[in-house]
């Protein structure tokens, strides 16, 4: 019965959105679902914050398959939702198809900084900067001098994380040894916690005592194994410090919530164009809360803050892997 309710609810939600009030903003979550403890949940939190602060309401839908992207976009656009925010790089091609058909609707898409259309706001993140900061934390916290990285699917975006992390670790400890592994080359690599665990164990046997997971659902296994084996781990996207209190060194924050909040706040007057959010724009950072307060010493914090300030002022440039497909600190 409850299952039936879920199905009916999903159908009803789709039907309701079709008749949504004009000019309410809308958000489309990617396949991970809005409670994925990571990327999509962060987007949802931003939308929720906007709703609480303004008292407004927004429309939302969680996709169940790739084929629904264009359909969901058109539904919202036809229904008059404005602006429409999409969480995830996978929307790029559907959006390119749809955006021109609805010139009066504003679209914002997260993790896409290459779709250049008059009514599209493309929001990219400078992940290398946030990864640099947590890499510094890892380099400083490591006692063995070896730190490691577990990526999900081997794509340039994930290499960007790895590269920034390696640069940060080298900055903190020039002799640091960095091990980087990718889980796989297919989308299944985002949801293979068992392999994530085994990769972590393999890295531990090579001497690693801090591991950074940028691997979606696979990261759950990485953080779990790190906690079981007594080494430190670093979370990604959302603040994941609470998952294993006292055993997660920090989390690389990607402020998807801020990006969504910003887009919703601007409403129908959304400024379009390409935006790349780094530390200076409050787009990326590292997490500090009661769960990791004892792990980040004052000295570490001072050094990380110092690097953060230098990156903001432009004095320190973190190399972006995607700019030329090479990494000065790490060999893939």
């Amino acid at each position: 019965m409850t299952l039936m309710k879920t199905f009916l609810g999903a159908t009803a939600a789709m039907a309701l959105t079709a008749g949504a009030a004009a000019a309410d903003p809308a958000i489309i979550f990617d396949l991970g679902g809005k409670f994925d403890k990571s990327f999509n949940e962060s987007a949802f939190n931003g939308a929720q914050r906007w709703a609480e602060e303004t008292g407004g309401s927004f429309n939302e839908v969680e996709l169940q398959s790739d084929a629904q992207r264009e359909q969901a976009l058109r539904r919202f656009a036809e229904a008059g939702a404005n602006p429409i925010v999409m969480a995830g790089f996978a929307f790029a091609s559907s959006l390119s198809e749809v955006a021109a058909d609805y010139p009066d609707t504003k679209f914002a898409v997260i993790d896409v900084n290459w779709v250049d259309m008059p009514n599209v706001r493309g929001i990219g993140f400078k992940e290398e900067q946030g990864s640099y900061l947590v890499g510094m934390a890892a380099g400083l916290a490591s006692e063995s001098g070896t730190v490691s990285f577990v990526g999900g699917m081997d794509i340039p975006l994930i290499r960007k994380f790895a590269c920034g992390y390696a640069q940060g670790a080298k900055a903190a400890n020039p002799d640091a040894n960095i091990i980087a592994n990718m889980t796989g080359t297919t989308p299944a690599a985002w949801n293979d916690p068992v392999k994530g665990s085994e990769l972590t164990k393999a890295q531990i046997s090579q001497g690693s005592d801090v591991v950074f997971a940028a691997a979606g659902g696979t990261g759950v296994g990485v953080l779990q194994t790190a906690a079981d084996e007594g080494i430190l781990s670093i979370g990604v996207d959302s603040n994941q410090n609470y998952l294993h209190p006292g055993q997660v060194l920090t989390s690389m924050l990607k402020r998807v919530d801020n990006a969504v909040y910003e887009a919703f706040s601007q409403g129908t007057d959304l400024e379009t164009g390409i935006y790349n959010l780094g530390i200076a724009e409050g787009g990326v950072g590292y997490a500090l809360d009661e769960f990791n307060a004892e792990l980040i010493t004052d000295d570490m914090k001072a050094m990380i803050e110092d690097a953060s300030a230098k990156i903001t002022s432009g004095e320190l440039m973190v190399h972006d892997y995607t700019s030329d497909e090479t990494c000065p600190a790490l060999d893939f």
Binding site: T6, N191, D192, E198
Partner: protein
Amino acid sequence: MDFNTFLQILDATVRLATPLLLACLAGLYSERAGIFDIGLEGKMLAAAFISAAAAFVTGSVWLGLLAGIGASMLLSIVHGMASITFRGNQLISGVAINFLAAGLTVVLAINWFGQGGRTPQLSGGGRLTPIDLPFAQAVADVPIIGQIYAELISGHTILVYLALAFVPFTWWLLNRTRFGLRLRAVGENPAAVDTAGVSVIGLRYAAVAICGVLCGIAGAYLATALQAGFTKDMSAGRGFIALAALIFAKWRPWHALGATLLFGFLQAISLRPDVIEAVLGFKIQIQLLDALPYILTVVILAGFVGRAVPPRAGGAPYVKER
């Protein structure tokens, strides 16, 4: 590469091979009785979810294991109904089970726990912990033998030993008992079994039920022993690798152990590119290692390493002559 590294790789091999071995033996029972089962993946996934959910709610991993086996059995019975009773296409039924499990686990997980298609983290009694065999600590310093005992043989969860024990048991059951003889016969020539007055339907259901139990253990192993909870699609194609191993093993239990250990070893070694480089002296693509189990299976199927002949009545529903 030092001896310790080698042991660590073998240790990872055992962990990674165990779910493959359980699923492979599950497929072996079913296919030797003439029921092709490509739904191993789906059954493992369903068992992983239900075992994690039950272990979380009750706080007991054993109840979780039972619930996982129950869920897997249920899907087995669906497969049995479709392919034995209603004489449907076994491959289609298997595919349907895979899709059903992949979708239903996530929907139920969202509905029950609201955590984006995963179960809450298990802790304490909700997880299977590795067991230390007697004297493991005491002999750990003895070179070679002591190291092997302490590092490789000791320190796995009970399900690993159970899976290994199932290999000789399966061999004995299939080759040394009346039930085993009939089970094999029903996969080769069901009409002969029927003529002898033994129920073909009953035997095939029994085989499918055993398959369900083993897949259930494999799924529970993934979610409660290797991990501390379910994440969506966590079986990640292991059911299909097990099928490949089954063909590679030519449907025989000891060969199944060898095949799954080989595939597990290939997976374990792909986790250590540094070791491969040190041993071979050059860099080898990880993707190639990931693909090797499938390449080996194709080689076997093409007849280069020997012919793999499936049970003769496999895939065909039995229709009694009137």
